[in-house]
């Protein structure tokens, strides 16, 4: 049987790329200059049955349209906002991703950003390095984390992992999600606005969809308030970034810890140097172990597909449709 033709949309981890090259028939889209991509795809489309992408680029409508033999899309990451799911469903294209392996690392960062924002860890590091301790005395008092109410937007795998860690700090947990989760004791709020009024730290850990775009808007930010903390480990566009910047500059929001942004790799420069803001470059899943685990999952899924064996990860479209059917995404 001919090897599976795989289109790699963006540059990925070198191990994944090397293994894709070794095990399959690999086509590298980004090696073509943008003006020649249409030509490249036209020339190679007959052989391309699989697409591998990441949160930096995957299978949008334009790409899918140029690949008539596309059968499976593999997204290296758990955020699949760069995959046109409805179109894939329409064309019978399978979509697989990498759940579970990214859960712990992302949750670890969520709590790390929370503590860093409340206790000013990054600014204190700067204060110590630039000699201010000697010249100006002690750093100012910061805000306690233990025991503060943590509100989680999206109680999926990552949200649950954040909750588990926050409980170790004695934090009461509340959440807003597409549906109330039956197996937890956490307080449920049907709207993210209610959630923001009732927590001190709001952690955004839900997927980006049409409904959740800018779900954290000016109203929600102001409900969180001048002592509130926003931590975003989901997707940049969950938050209205312009409103966020304005609120932080005005003091209408207390602090923020951000791993994701609306227009990565660009970060609003007005936030640079604010002591109450921690900005990191989408490092949520960037551990050596997790990167390899994600790569292996992608490779094993493609290999299984090629051999007509069952895929290793749940059909993502089925997961999403079932969840929507259960509760809808109304006021959240």
């Amino acid at each position: 049987m001919a090897s599976l033709g795989v289109l790699l949309v963006v540059s990925v981890d070198s191990y994944l790329e090397a293994e894709l090259d070794r095990r399959f028939n690999l086509f590298r889209l980004w090696e073509s200059p943008p003006s020649r991509r249409r030509e490249f795809l036209q020339a190679n489309a007959p052989w391309i049955r699989a697409v591998v992408g990441s949160p930096n680029g995957c299978a949008d409508a334009e790409l899918i349209d140029q690949l008539p033999n596309l059968e499976i899309v593999a997204n290296c990451g758990v955020g699949i906002d760069k995959v046109d799911l409805p179109l894939c469903r329409e064309r019978g294209i399978r979509v697989v991703y990498t759940p579970d392996v990214v859960t712990d690392d992302t949750a670890d960062l969520g709590i790390g950003l929370t503590i860093a924002a409340l206790r000013r860890i990054c600014d204190a590091d700067r204060y110590t390095r630039d000699g201010s301790w000697k010249d100006k005395g002690n750093y100012k008092l910061t805000s306690k984390f233990s025991g503060k109410a943590v509100g989680i937007l999206g109680l999926g795998r990552i949200g649950l992992a954040v909750a588990k860690r926050a409980q170790g700090f004695g934090c009461p947990i509340c959440y807003c999600s597409r549906s109330e989760k039956p197996n937890t004791n956490y307080k449920y709020y049907p709207s993210v606005l209610d959630l923001a009024y009732n927590c001190h730290v709001l952690v955004a850990a839900c997927p980006l969809t049409d409904e959740t775009h800018h779900i954290i808007n000016r109203e929600v930010i102001e409900a969180l308030g001048p002592k509130g903390v926003l931590v975003n480990i989901g997707r940049g566009s969950l938050v209205d970034e312009k409103e966020l910047v304005s609120a932080l500059l005005d003091g209408r929001l207390g602090a923020a810890g951000l791993d994701v942004f609306e227009h990565e790799p660009h970060v609003p420069e007005q936030l640079f140097g604010l002591e109450n803001v921690v900005l990191v470059p989408h490092i949520g899943t960037d551990t050596v172990e997790t990167t390899k685990a994600m790569s292996d999952l992608i490779l094993d899924n493609l290999a299984a597909y090629m051999l007509n064996k069952p895929l290793l990860t749940p059909d993502i479209d089925k997961e999403y449709r079932r969840a929507r059917l259960l509760a809808g995404w109304l006021s959240c």
């Binding site: 670890d108 860890i121 002690n138 470059p281």
Partner: protein, 322 residues
């Protein structure tokens, strides 16, 4: 009718005004040297005879000469947990009771220790600097780091702070073991009889024990060797618990993986070699300092004073001094 301040118990406050300036209770008269223009030694000489209690911070040595200069001294309250700045032997000789901050700071210190560890392992501060320098659009993604989950964490000192740290890190999927003066059977963690043994079986060492003669430089070259080149050291105890010169050398030579340090041997001096390192996170002895705990501390100080002056048990006595 207000009581004449001279008839109230006289309580001397030693240390910076920050934090202690708010000490207030109608039952005592607080002597605050910073409100006078006199040089401290003359000020103290003028008030010494009447002082019955002292509130001090860890920055002020309550040593034998000071104690001898205060003939009526009966009680010392320190706003710190550490008591290495107090001559406990002299206090015992004079029958002076001593109380400290007890467990008030434990959670805040534990939070900060975890924050430092997450920052070192996940490169939070280092990647933040990367963003501030405008490197993300230009130089691409920040290099990958190691996972926190599954790391073996060895805690040196499983007291009030160490046990809070352990509880938090368990939720991150770390495995916990410890070294302490005494085994703690109530905790489910693995005990090691020496710090060297602990280091050999750990990926991270978190230092949270008291500074005493025995624990001075307890983290030495041998312990660092046992920990290994990928090992991380987090110190929220006291600077002299770690041989700082050796640590700096090990970091420079890549014989230790990284460090998160809130305390140093000669504060506020910090070895400048550390300033250029991305695998190190530094802070200025502030793991204890939150707004909430500072308020709690003032209340605790007042409560201890009231207990002392009404012959009731102190709330947070330092063992062996009452």
């Amino acid at each position: 009718m207000a009581t004449d301040p001279g008839r109230l118990p006289q309580v001397l406050i030693l240390g910076p005004k920050q934090g202690l300036g708010r000490a207030f209770s109608a039952g005592f008269h607080f002597i605050k040297p910073w409100e006078s223009t006199m040089p401290l030694n003359l000020f103290l000489a003028a008030h010494a005879a009447a002082v019955r209690a002292v509130i001090s911070t860890a920055l002020v040595a309550v040593d034998a000469p000071l104690i001898r200069a205060l003939p009526s001294l009966g009680f010392v309250f320190t706003t710190s947990v550490g008591v290495d700045h107090i001559d406990l032997v002299e206090c015992a000789r004079r029958g002076i009771a001593v109380a400290n901050a007890g467990a008030i700071f434990s959670r805040d210190v534990a939070d900060y220790a975890v924050g430092l560890l997450v920052d070192v392992l996940l490169h939070v501060s280092a990647s933040y600097r990367y963003v501030l320098r405008g490197l993300w659009p230009v130089a691409g993604d920040f290099p990958p780091r190691c996972k926190l989950g599954g790391k073996r964490v060895g805690i040196v000192g499983l007291g009030s702070i160490g046990s809070e740290i352990a509880k938090r890190l368990e939720a991150f999927g770390c495995s916990i073991s410890y070294f302490s003066r005494n085994k703690k059977p109530l905790f489910p963690y693995t005990y090691f009889p020496t710090v060297g043994d602990l280091a050999a079986e750990s990926d991270v060492l978190v230092i949270a024990c008291a500074l005493t003669e025995e624990t001075h430089h307890i983290i030495d070259k041998d312990v660092m060797l046992a920990l290994g080149k990928d090992g991380i050291i987090i110190n929220v105890g006291r600077g002299p618990l770690v041989n700082e010169a050796e640590l700096v050398k090990h970091l420079i030579q890549g014989k230790i993986g990284g460090a998160g340090l809130d305390v140093f041997e000669h504060e506020p001096a910090v070895p400048e070699e550390l300033f250029r390192m991305d695998n190190v996170v530094l802070s200025s002895h502030q793991a204890v300092l939150t707004i909430e705990s500072t308020n709690d501390l003032v209340e605790l100080a007042m409560a201890n004073l009231e207990a002392f002056f009404s012959n009731r048990p102190l709330l947070t006595p330092v063992h062996g001094t009452t």
